[in-house]
């Protein structure tokens, strides 16, 4: 009887979370995932695990930048084969791809060795050892692909692209890739669909990619429009990109969110919302050109863009629907194996009636001691942003915001988090600041399903401190 109790309790607990989330929920972004990924090589691809950099930096593909996992080099949205592999091998409690060797003994109690990812035998797959090896074995590697979310592949591998066989049975170089992303939320007493995305990537030839992500944000009554709020479907991202180049350089043109600071999935954080970077809002999208490169550990993204007025929702499908202003953003730094440091700047110049001028600067960083100490599964990230803005009267003032978060990963698929954010939306004004503290648990029971429950406390500078419980479920492919 006694030995079964913990199993029963954990099952009930898990079932309760799933039921709650089924009624509700959202999820996931992941500068934290990127920061943690460097602790072991085989969470992004299959063996061989030996880390041998090509001598020429321009040939290196491994880095901790967003493009390692996402099709969009600036991060967020549909993932490439490496990101999908990470999502199957490392994130879940029950892995469906070979579990990273370092994680074999990190399964939660009662989720032990039953999954086939922890077989402790010699049958773990091995990928190509180099580009030349991938080219030599190309036909056999391509034969082994089993990937229902992609169609087609190219006739030969690309030196600067992802190589077949490196991501187990996932198609590393598809012609067409379709994804899905559904986020449901419960914020008592509300249950609502937070967001739905259907991204499509077309990669007709090496070096050229089209990405169109059609999505909508939800509300308690569904996806219908409401007063002054557009909930209908729109192009969240739509761009053409030239990439797979030396130094992982790229150029893209179209509609996107500018690269700035940490691209958190929590769009309510003031480091995103206060600076027109809220990923949930169509108003945060801009139309322009972005270039960048990630020669291994350094990275840089530089964008020039135009945008709709601050509070105007741009046309859903016409990505050239902009107003008179323009903007530019730069995001650069160094993402090393156990730490990173970056800085961002963004300028927007436009008439006061369109939102006025803003100048925003940010510094951010990550520390991942887990890489060096296997018994210390902690990761910490922070971002501090400040800058000037124009009020709707035309007067100038300053604003600032801070976010920092500590993650503890006790077992595979279970992340405990502690986060604090603070903002002062107008530094001249008294009593307009607020602190928010979050204690949360993110559970990924199986690949492509993440449950995120958070207890949040808001402390405004004046008035009552209040709290709520936010549960979200993220389903993604």
């Amino acid at each position: 009887m006694k030995p079964d109790m913990p199993r029963m309790l954990s099952t009930i607990w898990l079932a309760s979370i799933m039921v709650m989330a089924g009624l509700a929920s959202e999820a996931a972004a992941t500068p934290m995932y990127a920061a943690r990924s460097a602790r072991t090589c085989d969470n992004c691809h299959v063996g061989p695990n030996e880390w041998v950099d090509p001598v020429q930096v321009s040939l290196r593909k491994c880095n901790m930048s967003c493009q390692s996992c996402h099709v969009d080099p600036a991060g967020g949205g549909i993932r490439n084969a490496s990101g999908r592999f990470f999502g199957e091998s490392t994130l879940p409690m029950i892995a469906t791809s070979p579990r990273p060797t370092d994680d074999w003994d990190r399964n939660a109690p009662f989720f032990g060795r039953r999954d086939r990812a922890t077989s402790y035998n010699d049958s773990l797959p091995e990928g190509p050892t180099s580009y030349e090896d991938a080219a030599l074995r190309f036909a056999a590697l391509e034969q082994a692909i089993k990937d229902g979310w992609t169609r087609g592949s190219h006739a030969a591998p690309e030196r600067y692209g992802l190589l077949q066989g490196r991501y187990d049975k996932l198609n590393a170089d598809p012609v067409v890739r379709v994804g899905a992303d559904v986020r449901l939320a419960m914020l008592s007493p509300l249950y609502f669909p937070m967001q739905v995305d259907v991204p499509v990537v077309v990669h007709p030839t090496h070096h050229l990619t089209f990405l169109v992500n059609t999505g909508a944000r939800g509300r308690p009554s569904g996806y219908s429009d409401s007063f002054q709020r557009d909930n209908s479907l729109y192009f969240r991202e739509a761009f053409v990109m030239l990439h797979e180049a030396p130094n992982q350089a790229y150029i893209k043109a179209g509609r996107f969110v500018p690269s700035f600071g940490l691209r958190l999935d929590d769009h309510t954080s003031q480091i995103r919302r206060s600076f027109e970077l809220d990923g949930g809002l169509p108003e945060s999208r801009v139309s322009g050109v972005e270039i960048g490169a990630m020669p291994n550990y350094p990275f840089v993204n530089l964008a020039w863009f135009r945008m709709a007025a601050r509070d105007r929702v741009p046309d859903s499908w016409n990505i050239t629907d902009v107003d008179g202003g323009w903007g530019t953003a730069v995001n650069a730094g160094w993402r090393d194996l156990s730490w990173s440091l970056g800085a961002s700047a963004m300028l927007r110049r436009r008439p006061v009636a369109e939102g006025g001028d803003t100048s925003t600067y940010g510094v951010y960083g990550v520390l991942n001691p887990w890489r060096n100490r296997r018994n210390l599964p902690l990761t910490y990230q922070f971002e501090y942003d400040w800058g000037s803005l124009q009020r709707s009267s035309g007067a100038r003032t300053d604003q600032a915001a801070l976010y920092h978060e500590l993650n503890y990963v006790p077992y595979n698929g279970i992340i405990a988090l502690l986060a604090h954010d603070w903002s002062d939306p107008d530094t001249q004004i008294i009593d307009d600041e607020a602190h928010r503290l979050q204690v949360g648990l993110q559970v990924t029971p199986i690949s492509a399903v993440t449950l995120d429950a958070r207890f949040r406390v808001l402390k405004p500078a004046s008035g009552k401190t209040d709290s709520d419980v936010f549960v979200q479920m993220h389903l993604y492919r």
Binding site: L378, R391, L406
Partner: protein, 151 residues
Amino acid sequence: MKAEKARVMRHICTSTMVIAVVLTACGSGDLTLNQADPDIVAQKPTWAHVEPIIQRECVPCHTGRDETPNNDDNEGDDDLRLGDARNKPTAPMGEDPGLESCLSVVANLEDVIESIFEKNDMPPGAWPRLDSKEQLTIRRWIDANPVPSCE
């Protein structure tokens, strides 16, 4: 090894707290928005200025229209009337009145003032509160006339 782990944890926590305290202490001005930038909103806002704020910040939860001009702060009475308005026999006790129309906001003005200006507890939980400009707009609308105008 445990001592080493504890030491690293302590360093991370201490550094984090120091950084947070230093950075967040840099904020906070000493003027109200009315003092700093009196022209940022109309001196006599109309319902047209207020309605988008109410719709955005209040109506997602406070659906329905409780337009009874009793303003009696009688939640039970409001609930019953709200229930009628929704064609239900009764609404659950404790449910707040709907704020979907100007008349319903005026009818529940005491609650609105208490929540926005006295307790600053709405929107609830950890949702961001109304910002200074939104608060000033509603304050001036309320103060402009003996009874706020729905014109």
